[in-house]
């Protein structure tokens, strides 16, 4: 190894730098994908069904322009809305729109049928304004659709087609709005705007979070390594490995997502540890070094390679748990972060020794400042004393606390609503609140009915389903062709006739109603609700509460109704994809947890040559998982696309603490100490470095608290909880468990040669970190 590093030192350095620079050059070409539906595989049923519906009725993603004023029915406000509506109608990227000026009034008066615009002329006096309000109040296609019930808001809803790039269409809408200023307050909402904000905020976040994380890392390096030259080496490793993993995004043809933001942070928090090991060890050896550079490298690599490798492998194994996720960006994060950690591991083992060799063997001037750690030492003594005195009580309290917090899991909820990515005061949240509370919501479920739509049995079934859906909790507005037929029947029959507001009994009667409408209206008025061949109809459900529970209830109802429905039903829409996405999160969470726990269990069983050892080592992980989910339930932090990644990362990072403690404890036992003595000593040495390591990881992840996305911020907070619980598991629960139950595996003589070496190496790390007087980090 030493010979290899020395012989190819320049090649190693060049390759590392070139790889880093090459991949970094690719990063600017990475594009952002804000479309959450792409998070689920295109083979997923909900995506296939939604595509089928969108092929017939177009994309149902709605842009909603909101106009708010104390009273929106003023000539000035209406003129502004009309101008903006007219401007939007000219945008080629808009496939359809609903506005106060597109809505029709279907009326039957004195033997006449009228299908005229809701607003023929903008009212200028109080009488005509009142007439308009009355007209809106009785028109189901206008009330709470284009005007809110309290007439404080109006809306233009436009569906975006695929003629133009969405960003171009949104810019054109903005331009139309800006060129028509008025008194009303304008807010923009709907999924296309949410996507645009995500794109903007992902880029903004990357610009803020990554530098903050690097700054935090520099502070940690300064604290642990002291001199700038030593800091440069692990810093370079993190920067290079981050550049490589992020450069893989465009190389693989992937796109940046909100989750991609986590990759550089994971690397900053985790990947610097291996470099710190080596540089710290080099500083320690180098102060009084008088041998050759070759001997220095031999000693350095010989003493540290194995523990670094084990540490790296367990971290990679945990992160690779994400590969079992069905959420596509989660799998991508798994690959990117695992690649980054692998690169950091390889570079730490090759690149840093090569740099050290080039620097030469002259004695180092260690600039580390001795930190007063009396308080820390006293804390560690107190902690070990407590564990030794009352291991049983500690275990009982731990079990009790874990059970109490775990009970919070009952309240754990899943949230796939993209609106909630944004903080409460974000303009998109304000717009969403108004859309959901006053306009029936912008997120939709679509039901496509395939059959003879003019058949009265089918039309009646559509009407029955529509009525049931309207009554469902969380249904904001439901639109269907049966409502149009009923409105038309109202214009034909008098209210005292049985057929009034009913679906006609014959196919011909339904067909003739449509023909009647065609005479004064336009069949294209219903093109969102029925195709021109009358072979497919569409029930569009707008959700005022786009929550998974609401969506699932709707889905169940539709599935139940589909059993005896006289035509085929296809369920799709954005909300249904989100429901599948939520299911993916749960399945992904379970599978990635299982994978990571199993892998870690196998690794621990191999390391400790005991299944019981493997099982014991997974205790802190299990405790941490329960505490994490329990805490999320208690605090109301939902499991979403970002927080779903947490447990795998937590396992990858947190398992190191347990391995280190158990290994150190084992070596102290075998050196002849009793269980109590070994606990006190392990706590003083490895306990210290585990705490410092945990702190540095938490500090690295704390950069996420500066994110513009709520769920990424929550991720930052939850890392502290989860790493904190892993820490407590490793230095409190595991020591208490080992003292209380004195399992046989922990007293085993590890006679394997490699193990002896690992033991020696771990001791060296302990010595190294202890030598820093509490200012080093190890993993």
């Amino acid at each position: 190894m030493t010979n290899f590093i020395i012989k190819y030192r320049w090649l190693i350095i060049s390759i590392c730098l070139l790889l880093g620079a090459g991949f970094a050059a690719l990063i600017p070409s990475a594009r952002t994908d804000p479309e959450i539906r792409n998070y689920v595989p295109s083979t997923m049923k909900s995506r296939i069904e939604t595509d089928k519906i969108e092929n017939v009725f177009g994309v149902q993603d709605m842009v909603v322009i909101l106009f708010s004023d104390s009273s929106i029915i003023t000539s000035h406000n209406l003129k502004q809305i009309k101008e903006i509506d007219r401007g939007i109608s000219k945008i080629s990227g808009i496939s359809g729109r609903i506005s106060p000026f597109t809505i029709k009034n279907i009326k039957g008066e004195e033997g006449m049928m009228v299908a005229d615009p809701l607003i023929r002329k903008i009212p200028t006096d109080s009488t005509s304004r009142r007439e308009l309000m009355e007209s809106v109040a009785t028109n189901r296609f206008a009330r709470d659709v284009v005007f809110s019930y309290d007439f404080s808001s109006a809306s233009i809803t436009a569906t975006t087609g695929n003629k133009r790039a969405e960003s171009v269409t949104l810019n054109q809408i903005d331009s139309v709005i800006n060129s028509n200023p008025g008194k009303s307050k304008i807010l923009k909402g709907g999924l296309p705007y949410i996507r645009r904000y995500i794109m903007k905020d992902v880029q903004k976040d990357a610009v803020i979070i990554v530098p903050v994380a690097l700054l935090i890392m520099l502070l940690i390096l300064k604290l642990t390594l002291g001199d700038w030259r030593s800091m440069f080496m692990p810093f370079t490793v993190v920067v290079l490995s981050t550049a490589i993993s992020m450069g893989l995004i465009p190389l693989f043809g992937w796109k940046m997502s909100i989750l991609s933001l986590l990759v550089p942070i994971i690397l900053v928090a985790v990947a610097n540890n291996y470099g710190i090991y080596l540089v710290a060890r080099h500083q320690e050896i180098g102060v009084k070094w008088n041998g050759s550079s070759r001997e220095m490298i031999t000693r350095l690599t010989g003493s540290l390679n194995m523990p670094i490798l084990f540490s790296g492998l367990t971290t990679i194994a945990g992160i690779l748990g994400l590969l079992t996720h069905s959420i596509i960006p989660a799998r991508q994060v798994g690959i990117l972060a695992a690649t980054g950690v692998t690169m950091a591991l390889i570079m730490s083992l090759l690149f840093i020794p090569a740099l050290i060799y080039i620097r030469g063997s002259k004695p180092m001037k260690s600039e580390k400042k001795q930190v007063d750690t009396k308080l820390f030492d006293r804390f560690l003594s107190w902690l070990s004393g407590l564990i030794v005195r009352s291991p049983g009580k500690i275990l009982i309290v731990s079990v009790f606390v874990t059970i109490i917090i775990s009970m919070g899991m009952i309240f754990l909820r899943i949230d796939t609503n993209q609106e909630n990515y944004f903080p409460r005061k974000h303009p998109i949240r304000s717009a969403s609140n108004i859309i959901n509370s006053k306009f029936g919501g912008s997120q939709t479920i679509s039901v496509m009915i395939s059959g003879d739509i003019k058949n009265p049995g089918v039309m009646q079934a559509i009407d029955n389903l529509t009525l049931k859906l309207e009554k469902q909790d969380g249904a904001g507005k439901v639109f269907s062709i049966s409502q149009v037929v009923r409105e038309m029947s109202k214009s034909i029959y008098n209210s005292n006739e049985a057929e009034y507001d009913h679906i006609p009994a014959t196919r011909d009667a339904i067909a003739q109603l449509f023909e009647l409408y065609n005479m004064s209206g336009d069949q294209n008025d219903f093109n969102q609700l029925m195709n021109l061949d009358n072979t497919k109809a569409h029930i569009l459900i707008r959700l005022s509460r786009p929550e998974n529970q609401v969506i699932n209830q709707m889905k169940e109802l539709i599935k139940k109704e589909a059993v005896n429905f006289p035509a085929d039903l296809t369920i799709g829409g954005y909300a249904i994809i989100m429901s599948d996405f939520a299911e993916s999160i749960i399945k992904g969470q379970a599978s990635s947890l299982l994978f990571a726990v199993l892998t870690v269990f196998i690794l621990l069983s191999i390391i400790f040559k005991s299944l019981r050892g493997g099982l014991t080592g997974t205790i802190p992980l299990a405790v941490s998982i329960f505490i994490l989910f329990g805490f999320m339930g208690i605090t109301g932090i939902a499991l979403d696309a970002a927080t779903a990644l947490l447990s795998s990362i937590m396992i990858g990072v947190g398992v190191d603490f347990t391995i280190q403690y158990m290994w150190c404890f084992n070596s102290e036992l075998r050196s002849g100490l009793t269980h109590d003595e070994a606990t006190v000593k392990a706590m003083r040495t490895i306990g210290r470095s585990i705490i410092i390591n945990a702190m540095s990881v938490m500090a690295g992840f704390s950069a996420l608290m500066f994110s513009g996305f709520t769920s990424i911020r929550f991720f930052g907070y939850l890392v502290i909880i989860s790493i904190g619980s892993c820490l407590i598991g490793a230095i409190v629960i595991i020591p208490a468990f080992l003292i209380k139950f004195k399992p046989g595996f922990i007293q085993k003589d590890l006679s394997n040669k490699k193990r002896r070496k690992y033991e020696k190496d771990t001791n060296l790390i302990t010595i190294t970190t202890a030598a820093f007087s509490g200012s080093s980090a190890t993993s």
Partner: protein, 221 residues
């Protein structure tokens, strides 16, 4: 149209995607000395609207009147719409396209090159905003043969002065009194990509049609 006539008319609506909807109707029409015109239309195809009948009275000085009889519902309803620009039977043709234009509703003037190549090019602009709103366009440009005075093509511009519809006359046949009947015409919407074609078949002119044919009683027969 002038005098009296009967015909079988087929209206074909072709969607942008290529799907086709077809309607066949029979029509009798009679014009009166005061300029009014009455039409009785009966649907032949599609089958589910067969028997649906319409009576249209196209008044020159007052609003048009339209009644429809729906046999399956056994109801006659009057349809009211003041919008001449409104679609005719859900096609690209407007109600205004189906009747003779009132010259007083427009300001007409020749455009550059008008008169060259045996073609008059005339721009017609509605006299006021209300008329423009009623017709549903800001202006139209007619291309008329200076040889036989027959309209070849009309281009329609929306309120953003954007060409949105072209109506082309494909076939004309002589009628009584030296006048002509448009037999074949097509209207294409440039923006939606939809087009509609009207074809008159079995045209008989100069027939004697009793006024009682254009009554509500006859509509429901």
């Amino acid at each position: 149209m002038t005098g009296s006539m009967s015909s079988i008319i087929s209206l074909t609506i072709i969607e942008k995607g290529g799907s086709v909807r077809k309607r066949t109707i029979s029509m009798i029409a009679k014009s009166y000395p005061d300029g009014a015109e009455k039409r009785l239309i009966r649907f032949i195809e599609p089958a589910d609207v067969r028997g649906t009948s319409m009576l249209v009275v196209d008044n020159k000085s007052t609003a048009d009147e339209m009644w429809i009889y729906l046999p399956a519902l056994k109801k006659t309803r009057r349809i009211v719409s003041s919008e001449k620009g409104k679609s005719f039977m859900s096609s690209e043709f407007s109600n205004a396209d189906m009747s003779s234009p009132a010259l007083s509703d427009f300001n007409n003037n020749h455009l550059k090159n008008s008169g060259e190549n045996n073609l008059w090019i005339i721009e017609s602009t509605p006299v006021d905003a209300d008329k423009a709103e009623e017709y549903g366009y800001s202006r139209k440009i007619s291309y008329i043969s200076s040889v036989n005075w027959q309209v070849k093509k009309i281009e329609y511009y929306n309120f953003d002065n954007q060409l949105f519809k072209i109506m082309e006359v494909k076939g004309i046949q002589p009628s009584e009194n030296g006048k002509y009947i448009i037999r074949d015409m097509i209207a294409s919407n440039i923006i939606t990509g939809r087009s509609s074609k009207i074809l008159l078949d079995k045209i008989t002119t100069g027939i004697n049609i009793d006024d009682s044919q254009f009554s509500l009683q006859n509509l429901e027969r």
